[in-house]
């Protein structure tokens, strides 16, 4: 069987079904584009830091024995509020708003965010505003010398108390 195309002499200007020159050219073009894309990913690897410089997330604090239940105690320089409950157990609640990271204000009734108006109760539950989640609770541990070690790197379920 003779193919209609094979009966006529083809020239370079006639359209081929699979133009070989175009195939090679397109393959080269797409490979260089792919190479460029991979190179872009490699370039973006640099600004994605591997080591995050940050101070230690653990700190040691003395919580006064006389601290009344439910009264906030705020260690200087840390965005954490410490409380004692009726039994004298200690718990730590983060002051970083779960909405957009502002530092909430503490009073005995709860926490208030100045940036977008989120309100939390004294256990960190959301009462009002845009915060999507309750305030985080951090792990606390009693050291042998009677001070308390708060670990801001370790969140614990709400209601976890120590001592």
């Amino acid at each position: 069987m003779t193919h209609p195309e094979s009966t006529q002499p083809t020239s370079r200007l006639d359209p081929e079904r699979v133009p070989r020159r175009d195939f090679l050219g397109l393959a080269a073009l797409w490979s260089s584009l792919a190479a460029g894309f991979v190179a872009l990913l490699g370039i973006l690897r640099l600004p994605k830091a591997a080591v995050l410089p940050a101070p230690s997330r653990k700190f040691r604090v003395e919580v006064p024995e006389s601290l009344a239940p439910g009264v906030p105690f705020e260690p200087a320089g840390r965005n954490v509020t410490l409380f004692r409950d009726q039994q004298g157990s200690v718990y730590a609640i983060s002051k970083v708003c779960t909405h957009l990271g502002c530092i909430v204000r503490t009073d005995p009734a709860g926490f208030h965010c100045p940036c977008h108006g989120s309100n939390f109760d004294s256990l960190g539950e959301v009462l009002k505003g845009p915060a999507p989640a309750p305030l985080a609770w951090f792990a606390v541990q009693r050291a042998s010398d009677g001070t308390w070690i708060v670990n801001e790197g370790q969140t614990v379920p709400q209601g976890t108390k120590e001592g």
């Binding site: 973006l44 600004p47 502002c102 999507p132």
Partner: protein
Amino acid sequence: MATAECRPALARFWANLKAVPALFRASAFRAGSPVSDRSRSSFVFGNVFLHLHSVRVHRWTLRWATTWGLGLITLAAFLIALLTGILLMFYYKPYPAVAYDSIKDIHFVVPTGRFIRNIHRWSANLMVVAVILHMARVFYTASYRRPREFNWVVGMVLLVLTLGLSFTGYLLPWDQLAYWAITIGANIAQSPREVTDALGLTAWFDLGGLQKLLLLGSDEVGEEALIRFYLLHVMILPIALLMLLAVHFWRIRKDGGLARPEDADGRLPAPARRLFPVFTQLPQKTYHLAALVRGRTPAMGPPENTLPSLPHLFYAEAGVLMLSVFICLLLALLSDAPLKELANPAVPENPAKAPWYFLGLQELVSHSAFMGGVGIPALVMIGLGLIPFLDREERGTGDWFGGPGGASLVVRATAFGLGACILLEAFTIRFGWLRQWWPEVPQLAITVANPGTLLALAYAWYSLWVMRRFDSTRAGALALFTCFLCGFVVLTVIGYHFRGPNWDFYWSPSQWPGH
């Protein structure tokens, strides 16, 4: 000639030396003085800075009411900010320990430093205002239509870059505004977690965390974050903006200059008698050009209603540039750029307010971080970007409020846009939202249904309704864009004036409780 050649070399040297100024001028401006129509044209297209313009410009383009010079004001404000920004870089040090002090030095010690910083700040503000008004002008004169759809999209990217430059700019002084704006901005970048958390995907696909890490270079706001925002502000964003500006201007030329009504020639009054002669004679056909350029070349069409760019267009442009400089200088003399207290990572300001152009966004994120900061802005950008591809009509191009419905539709859309936004906000301020009614409501429900998303839905519904009623996509677009502007204004005013400590509602800042 022969005699000159015969003269001794020293005499020729002396004669050439005396002629240097004239020879230099002739070499720099090879077309000679722009005295005739033809030499003016050569002057324009022979000059690298001027040849961005066409040699002749339609008289419709030169009417003030065509553009009000808004695009040019934006460009002028950018150039002023570029120049003053380079000057500020002499003294600014992008490091947390010294950044604040270097700004204080610029304000109090550096000669003219305070003035230059004020100009920088005001030119940035002018740029934001002008670029929004420029966008509104292009929209309301239906100038985004074919073949200018692509330039509309480029313009929207330029708007985003302008806002990005403003945002990264006010972070650099490392005062309270800067620190908390970086914190909030980085957490908005992280806010896709609001969705991935709700869907339980964060462990596998943490887009929000990646964005925050790339922005801050750390998990806390500190020196890494400041140097990154500095790099964005002085290098990455300006280069991106300049490249896209080149595309924007290039496309104005290639898309046939500014849009004008089809019957513009008939509507223009006769040119003033002392005006330079208008092209009325059909010039000889340029067959060489016709072979190279597709379509009708200017030389092949009917007589045109054009004027030489030099002087008509350039004088108008120089006027707008001078006006922009005047506005910036005047505001810089009258009002100082703000500088708050040194950044304090333990205590945010109360209220912590962004500059005015972001207060609408701040009001939206006070309903939902993800929707207000990422979702709705992305929806708005997609909606506005689609307009030129959906509106394929031709009626009203080049006319203010052109198209079905016209100015009366814009008035009604304004009423709807203002009313819907004010009602929703008033309802939320008075009665609260889902979380206050049912504290157990899942976060995803608030992300999907909050005042911001409902407002966007109301606007979309209204513009679809208008589209059906007028049987015209242009009418729908007029309604949508007008609503967008109204929402922007209302939210900005609420954020600026009616929000006080703890982002609570107050009728006036004078009622804020004292601290």
